[in-house]
Symmetry: C2
Subunit: 376 residues, 2 copies
């Protein structure tokens, strides 16, 4: 097992990349999808089940964890890995994005952000330095630079000012992170949909120097076409020998489009959140299990899926569980969705390795166009 | 594997009995605790996890299942075992008790009960004949006779009339059940706290003839002392060569006291329901995980317990999950509680086999008297 963090680019197919990240806590096969473990738990899943779906790495949320149970407390309890019983790599976000979307009475200055907790109203401050400290206390393997980004659409001036502030914060994050062998610090490119601002941001980050680079500020309201428009040029602005992470993405077709455009890592609450609201993702598109047409359907959600929900249960049963408000409904559908997302990633990795990503992608879209199986 | 239902009494120690029930779906080691799978799921557990805790048999609720998803629907989907992915034995109650406690606008006649569903207000009827039909449609291995019982305290006349009605319904249940090799029908003794009525009920049931006998009408408000008072004489009124089932019991000390008095089978929602409200059962008594004293306690709930909650997590983590309203809290605490209840039964079975039940019981009470471990 390595004691260092490193990225190996193993193959490319067009802009799509097959790679491997080595860390002291294990390997991450890329393109990688990271399930989100917001409050030190991937909701409705035991961590051994998350590993069974094929996940190599989880994402933890600095904002949620700093508020409850608190970073210092987690540190005293041996760090986030031990706290939540997950010994593989963990990436933590910086807290910046979630402060902006969840916290109350936030105030942004050059120094950082002050805000009130959405849980108990307590005052908190997040700065690049405090974000680095919290992520160190959590024991995160991949630490994200502290940044800020506007929801889109936003005017160019707002995007430009925000990006430049984030670049100054990126430098302070790098300084505060220091030298921590085995742990990585990722910078985050900003610039909205403006190509020149993306280029300026990428240059600033490269000048500072990071172990990996995220494309930030997307999946914030701009739509898929605009996002793909940015991804057509933004990843190439970042160093080819470092992993590229697209934050907060996405739906299966977003993910496929992002990988096609050179993205190596992604995260999203979609598979877990949808699992709790009765939406299942399958090769043939999304299925709403609460729909009455499933109520007496003895067939599995997806006959070709090997997850426990599909292997052991009928649509009729899953429908019943959801209607009855049973916890097992969230457990099984979350498992299915995470399994599907990981199979999607595995399929793309295999296709890139074989140099047949275009054919794989065509088949992906063909299956989705078929739509869900007909009612019996 | 047998094709018949049978009970073997293997050892006795005082009134306590060690036994084995053989069914075509597998063996049930007695004394047995049956987790409750109300709506075709043991809440917050996958069935393979329920089996891992050591459960040989589950209880299903006729009342809940007839309302949603419906007995005919479950039958068309292949029966309850297949529907919920549990291939070991299932006992179903008759629906009588839950109609009386949950349904709206109920009307009791000699024929049976009419009522409105608490879910959607739809009109339903339950009679001994319909209860037998529903339990057959579900595919239940152990079917309970349809009965009725008053909450205690109740006056003697009400208890007597109710018991006699239940005995007439027991005869109709026996008639309607017919001959179903491999499936068992249990009669239910009633009579409240009145010894002579218990004797009359037992005689009536024996005259009809059942594969097993339940002590019913207890755990309905009478308190432990009164319940044990009945259990001091009621089980001995029932045939020694048939299993004796105490319905709806109970807390760990209720269970131990019942086994001591000759009970072979029990069921209760306590371990599962408590698991969702933050209460854990341990050798040293109940622990409320939501209590602030656990918030930084790195120790497991019970260092001597082998369940996943105790093996993999700290009290601090379990406390955090409960406070954050996480589904994993219910999953882990339910698992722990079911594990504890099954360990309790295994301990008693071992003690009876060795002829040292009294010593085992003394140790059980000694550990509980110690109370939970001290805060750090």
């Amino acid at each position: 097992m390595t004691t260092r963090f490193s990225f190996s680019l193993l193959a490319t197919d067009g802009a799509a990349r097959l790679g491997r990240i080595d860390t002291p806590r294990g390997q991450i096969r890329t393109p990688a999808f990271m399930p989100v473990g917001t409050a030190a738990t991937v909701k409705a899943m035991r961590p051994e089940s998350v590993a069974e779906t094929g996940a190599d790495i989880l994402l933890g949320n600095t904002y949620h964890l700093m508020l409850r149970p608190g970073a210092e407390r987690i540190a005293r309890l041996g760090g986030l890995h031990r706290f939540m019983n997950w010994d593989r790599p963990i990436l933590t976000d910086s807290g910046g994005f979630q402060v902006m979307s969840l916290a109350e009475l936030r105030k942004l200055t050059e120094k950082g952000v002050t805000f009130r907790s959405h849980i108990d109203g307590a005052r908190h401050e997040l700065t690049p330095e405090r974000s680095m400290e919290i992520q160190r206390l959590l024991g995160s393997d991949i630490v994200m630079a502290f940044d800020e980004c506007p929801a889109l659409p936003a005017d160019r001036r707002r995007i430009e000012e925000s990006m430049r502030l984030s670049m100054r914060w990126a430098a302070r994050s790098r300084e505060a992170f220091g030298d921590r062998p085995g742990h990585a610090l990722f910078g985050i490119q900003q610039g909205g949909l403006e190509r020149d601002l993306r280029a300026e941001s990428a240059a600033a980050l490269k000048e500072i120097g990071f172990d990996g680079y995220a494309v930030g500020g997307l999946a914030v309201g701009e739509g898929q076409a605009a996002m793909f428009g940015v991804l057509d040029h933004a990843p190439a602005m970042l160093p080819a020998d470092r992993p590229r992470y697209l934050m907060g993405v996405g739906k299966p077709d977003d993910i496929v489009g992002a990988v096609k455009r050179g993205i190596d890592m992604m995260d999203c609450v979609l598979p877990t959140r949808s699992g709790r609201t009765g939406q299942a993702f399958t090769r043939r598109g999304a299925v709403n299990i609460k729909n009455a047409r499933h109520q007496e359907d003895p067939r599995p959600l997806d006959a070709d899926c090997g997850c426990p929900a599909c292997r052991d249960y009928s649509r009729a049963y899953l429908h019943h569980l959801f209607r009855a408000g049973e916890i097992l409904s969230a457990m099984l559908l979350t498992w299915h969705n995470l399994h599907y997302f990981q199979e999607l990633m595995a399929g793309m990795r295999e296709a890139i390795a074989a140099g047949r990503f275009a054919a794989w992608e065509a088949e992906f879209h063909r299956m989705r166009a078929l739509g869900d199986i007909e009612p019996l």
